[in-house]
Symmetry: C2
Subunit: 795 residues, 2 copies
């Protein structure tokens, strides 16, 4: 065999193309004669719409159409509730264009289609909407009070969902606990801020009845299914392509954003291509956000530190609508006990409507909040019991031999009870301690203080349920002409490197170079069974589906090669793009095998000539294909996980806090990470590093700010502080590889890992640095200089 | 079960669209900014090309490029020999653009690409080609003489191929024969004359590297494979679409016509869409033709009429090149004994190069010539032995109990020995005799003669090997939203009604309406395994593949329905678009089953709501898909025939010949036809009727005329006489259905049947009518008024 590709630090196939600017994003698709869209959006967080006068806009030169809720036919409906759940009564979702009321600043009220974007924007400004503004309450804790103005007037209150989950016997355990610590923490709202905003273009062929949609989505197959259903087309008549997409982070997986329905609808109505490219301000006010939760968490422990029970009650801000149901809050609930043994858990949440941009999962999806709560509580418990922060964790971490650990009663996002499958939690903790030289840190800290420098050590542990089902598929085909291997799956990529990692999986099985494996995904004409890219599931679910398909193609290839080479199948090996009789120089290229297994005459190329040497001279012995035999070297198979696999990690940092400037500088950042077997450590590190960068943003800089009227006041990159390279520390990443026992590749997901614990790490470190000042505890992120200043001032 | 669709006279699904002018042919594809092609073609049948000066053309305003053999890179090569055979030495195929020599009038010498066709034509006229004309010999029998000028100077003579096939022991049988009759017959050259000429358009996406080609071809998958190979692209990067195509008849299955390579090449080179629409004159001089053969056939018989041996030696005109190899001549050789028992056969042919339009199969493909030879010989034998024409056939037809009849030694186009699988030849003959009231015809004829009317009865029998392999496939999918069934196969249609007959096959198995089954073919993105539409193979090969796939989907549907309805699988029936518990009103629509078998949440439609009633509430019992289970209701399977199935028929006509005008009027035309089980008798009759119309053309009107310099002098519809509706008789079609034992559906092909015997019928009838004049025998088609005049004059 050649060197194994699985596990190698293979350069990403796609990078040269993207780095040279040769990517093809939605706005790059050439659509001759395309019309362009601008939206009229609500300037009020809550308002009654009395009338919409489109006459001036419609009369504006270059305008093709102006749509309101009255002129979009079947589309004038509430968009689907993607994940129903009994904890929600009367869940509210958005209409493509507002009917009667507006529910947040930025909601789409009318759509203008014109010859270019400039014209469309000018005409949008001419749409005259008569609003009556209504009272609003933006603040989460006030929004649940009886006196709060209702977001949805026909809904009895602002509670969108309420749910309690229990594992073990918390009441009993609480009654017998020797110590309790209570923490109230808050994580504020952020946004994914992908480099490319969202984008949709569509064209409709009246002759064939085919609708083609280019959508910067994470879920082309689901978009296809939904469009077909709502527009009453057969699925085969709708092709959805997600071309190159510049970042998703969950923001691009909602079904549907208004534009995703309205742009295809307009293309069908107007008989011309139609395009909408979201601008940055629209991404802030029109694309979904996440994070605001307020947890009150209690840990019940023995005096020796072992936690016997956990109680958590939290508020979850769902914005004006709840299209994703309770997914985020459910993930937070089920992640709340982290990596700890804690046998008794009671967790409750209330999801609350606020008249703000709707909430859907953003990288991490509830996990950063849960991690922030449990880890801040663990730190406090350690202090209260006089234990070191590492020590309290040593006493509570699940031991290797205890896996799998079932948290019966806590149902994860897949509807199954949480079951942590494997890990080496204790080893990870010691690796961090060793790497940070924790034993000597107190001395170092003391030395620095004497020099007027205030160092702090922060740390946090996390777990991440990954690889959600229900399933994905993989199709693999070896090409007859070039011997290249094409791979399809139902996912799509926004920068994750699918094309490289899936190629590595296949390359090993078929004995070809990684660069000769070409992934085609994100196109419903290429593969149309599957779900979407989200929830750190690609490597686990599509990866294993592709692996299974590769094994089938491998077997077909070996069988055909053995026949052509007149050797036993056991004597054949696949390497260097050919099948070889082991220990000899007799070989046949994969291209020739692919040619020969399609019983056709190819007279065109070298591969065919090679194949001809081996192909049977005549067919006197029966049909060209035996019963059940399929032509070529291809296969499709599926992988459906039994349940989630749980990755985990522990991060630690050495910070320096300047008490004058109230600034925080991250001097070292160490990540110990375990996502099972790594397909490509370089890509794993890229994912982790990117996650940490976004985590740094959420920990210290990024906060979506609404004023009391519900205006998003920092809807731009001047005021919303995405960290630059100067703010993101160098990260030392150390790997553990504890294979998942749940899937053939032994892999777990890694897409969200990096961002989860960063807030807890930073807060832990700042607290540690400012301990001499009596600055107290830090229980909110982003942790800003103002907060440090206030804490120091209060001390 | 609902009424069976298989066998019903279902109206063709596609007709309303086509009849309303809503078809989408290649020229209808909207390609913004497309460039257009005109060709510079040789005005000489043979010439040396000394120089090509493109400077004036290239400088013409609006010209994007002018290509010659020197500027087309990899394409400057001989095009593939599609079917090699040992009987050919040094077979010659054409280059896309002539290099050094021109070989027929109309050969492509240069290609001009310009902003529109007018400009391209103007510029083509400015291309200055310096030719030295060479001597030519057009006439087939002279072209094989030693003194004939060579078509290919480096080839030792004009013999492209020579092949002898022997079945039984002809020498011995001939030696013992009591009687011999010898006939020399000639069938002249015709052309398919499809309503739509050929057309190719292409566009290349530089970002994705994808080449899309719209080609009015019968073989999109093969075009895709060849283009990928020659242009060095992966097959997945080439999409070939055959949209609506206005008739093919074999003319559109050659790989490659120059334009089919050059147009995609130019699109890639120029970065713009490029389009070529063949005009009618170009279809005459640039697209392939068929038919010219001269047979000398001898029947060796007992005095009682039983033929004991057959000898046939024929010349086959292959034109200037032989891209299809000996396919036509081989089909003629192996069809030469027709439906007769004749146990000993010796058949030889010589394929001859002439400097004319190249020859490839045209509907019938050698069979009309073979039929003309054997049937004219049988008529003569009958006369010589004093037997009735029906009686001589009765004594020689294969009896029902004799099937299968192996003609060992005669290898058919699939490389296998001819084996006639089933039939009721004797019954067919008697049906014709009865229908034409043959017993009373002599009296009727005599009565007419007395009234000055010259009636003749003509008849001819034929067999047709159909359903050639190697294989085709079928993919079937039931749609989750609409319950409609989509069917894909590797073929493409030029008017055959695939979309209806394949739908009938599927409708029965899945219990849906025929109009709810939608066939998508002719698009390599929809299905890309298979061969092409030719050789009367679609119903047999794709039909059975689709049938096999339908059985799998049926089983999946029954299994899922039984689960949803909590019933035994044996108690489920599929009808009216739903699965029912037999004898109850409990049912679930197919759309709901398709939804439920894709383990996803669809919240969008009624079908989904119906499915939700049945879907399992949770997944606590394991993965969403069991190992080996695939989502949805779909399947792909293949059918690979063991050998050809043999259809047959017998035609008879009553003619009236006017000895003054020398005109022939067909008063009655009866066709007895057996293609096994009929999927749709109406479509079978349409196929037969269309074939007879083309047969009438070949029998009486259509003759490609070359002058002695090789100019095609009737390259238009004024001079080349395609029969109008006024010339085509009403045809009485009677069916026999003798199932083929070779395939599950019991079907045989019918695409070419109609045209095969018409020439023999007409000649037989004219001969019969003019017998009193002593006008002798008619051994050439088209049988023109001039020939009748000459025969009467000579009598």
């Amino acid at each position: 065999m050649s060197t194994r590709a699985f596990g190698a630090r293979v350069q990403r196939n796609i990078d040269p193309q993207l780095l040279r600017g040769e990517g093809s994003f939605v706005d790059d698709i050439p659509l001759a004669g395309a019309l362009h869209v601008a939206f009229v959006r609500s300037p009020f967080a809550r308002a009654r719409i009395n009338a919409i006068d489109i006459s001036a806009a419609a009369a504006h030169p270059g305008v093709a159409a102006v749509y309101t809720c009255d002129t979009i036919g079947e589309l004038d409906r509430e968009m689907p509730l993607l994940i129903p759940h009994p904890s929600m009564k009367d869940a509210r979702t958005q209409r493509p264009l507002a009917r009667g009321d507006a529910y947040y600043v930025g909601q789409t009220v009318a759509m203008v289609v014109a010859v270019d974007r400039y014209t469309a924007e000018d005409a949008a400004a001419l749409v005259d909407v008569d609003y009556d503004p209504l009272d609003v309450e933006i603040e989460l804790e006030k929004a649940i009070l009886d006196e709060a103005p209702l977001v949805h007037e026909t809904h009895p209150n602002n509670v969108a969902a309420h749910f309690v989950q229990v594992s073990g016997h918390p009441d009993k355990a609480i009654a017998g606990a020797e110590h309790v610590t209570r923490v109230k923490v808050r994580v504020d709202r952020s946004t994914a801020a992908p480099m490319e905003c969202r984008a949709v273009a569509a064209t409709f062929d009246r002759v064939t009845g085919e609708l083609t949609v280019w959508d910067g989505t994470q879920a082309p197959i689901s978009v296809r299914g939904g469009l077909a259903s709502i527009l009453k087309l057969d699925e085969d008549k709708v092709r959805v392509i997600a071309p190159h997409v510049g970042g998703g982070f969950g923001q691009k997986v909602l079904l549907f954003y208004p534009d995703e329905l309205l742009v295809p609808y307009a293309a069908m109505q107007l008989g011309r291509p139609v395009k909408y490219i979201e601008d940055r301000r629209e991404n802030f006010v029109g694309s979904s956000q996440e994070r605001t939760q307020i947890h009150t968490i209690e840990l019940y422990a023995k005096k020796t530190g072992e936690v016997v029970a956990l109680r958590d009650s939290f508020l979850h801000d769902t914005g004006a609508f709840i299209p994703y149901g309770i997914a985020i809050a459910q993930v937070a609930s089920t992640s709340i006990a982290g990596p700890y043994r804690i046998p008794n858990i009671w967790v409750e949440f209330t999801a609350v409507y606020t008249p703000t941009v709707p909430i859907t999962p953003y990288r991490g999806c509830g996990r950063p909040q849960a991690c922030f709560a449990i880890e801040r509580a663990m730190d406090q418990l350690a202090d209260e019991l006089g234990l070191d922060r590492f020590e309290i964790r040593r006493r509570n971490l699940i031991a290797d031999a205890e896996f799998p650990v079932l948290r019966d009663g806590l149902l994860f996002a897949d509807g199954l009870a949480v079951s942590l499958d494997s890990g080496q939690y204790g080893k990870a903790l010691e690796m961090l301690a060793e790497r940070l030289d924790v034993d000597n840190f107190a001395a170092e800290q003391e030395k620095a203080r004497r020099e007027g420098k205030h160092l702090g050590l922060g740390m946090a542990f996390y777990v991440e349920g990954t690889g959600l089902g229900p399933y994905e598929g993989g199709h693999i085909k070896i090409h007859p002409i070039t011997g290249k291997v094409y791979v399809n799956t139902g996912l799509t990529s926004q920068g994750q490197g699918h094309d490289t990692v899936f190629a590595q999986i296949v390359a090993d099985q078929l004995g070809v170079k990684v660069e000769d494996v070409i992934l085609v995904e994100g196109d419903t004409k290429a593969f149309d069974w599957g779900v979407a890219t989200f929830a750190s599931r690609a490597a686990v679910v599509s990866g294993n589906a592709i692996h299974k398909s590769a094994l089938i193609v491998r077997q077909k290839t070996l069988t055909a090669a053995a026949n052509m080479l007149e050797a036993d199948i056991g004597d054949i090996e696949l390497r260097d793009g050919a099948a070889w009789v082991k220990g000899t120089d007799r070989a046949v290229p994969l291209a020739a095998i692919a040619t020969a297994t399609n019983p056709l005459r190819y007279a065109f190329n070298e591969a065919a000539k090679a194949a001809t040497q081996f192909a049977p001279a005549s067919r006197h012995d029966g049909p060209a294909l035996a019963e059940g035999q399929h032509p070529g070297l291809e296969a499709t198979d599926y992988y459906s996980p039994a349940c989630a696999t749980w990755a985990y990690g522990v991060h630690g940092a050495i910070l320096e806090v300047d008490p004058e400037l109230c600034s925080v500088k991250v001097k070292r950042y160490v990540c110990i990470h375990d996502c099972g077997n790594m397909i490509n450590p370089m890509i794993v590190e890229g994912q982790v590093m990117g996650g940490i960068a976004q985590g740094i943003g959420g920990a210290m800089y990024e906060r979506i700010e609404f004023d009391s009227d519900g205006n998003l006041v920092n809807a731009n990159f001047v005021d919303f502080l995405v960290p630059y390279a100067t703010e993101v520390p160098q990260v030392e990443i150390l790997h553990l590889e504890t294979p998942s026992p749940l899937n053939p590749l032994g892999v777990k997901g890694v897409g969200e890992a990096g961002c989860i614990p960063v807030g807890a790490v930073i807060a832990s470190g700042v607290e540690d640095a400012l301990r001499p000042f009596g600055a107290g505890r830090f229980h909110q992120v982003p942790l800003t200089p103002s907060m440090i200043h206030a804490a120091l001032a209060a001390a």
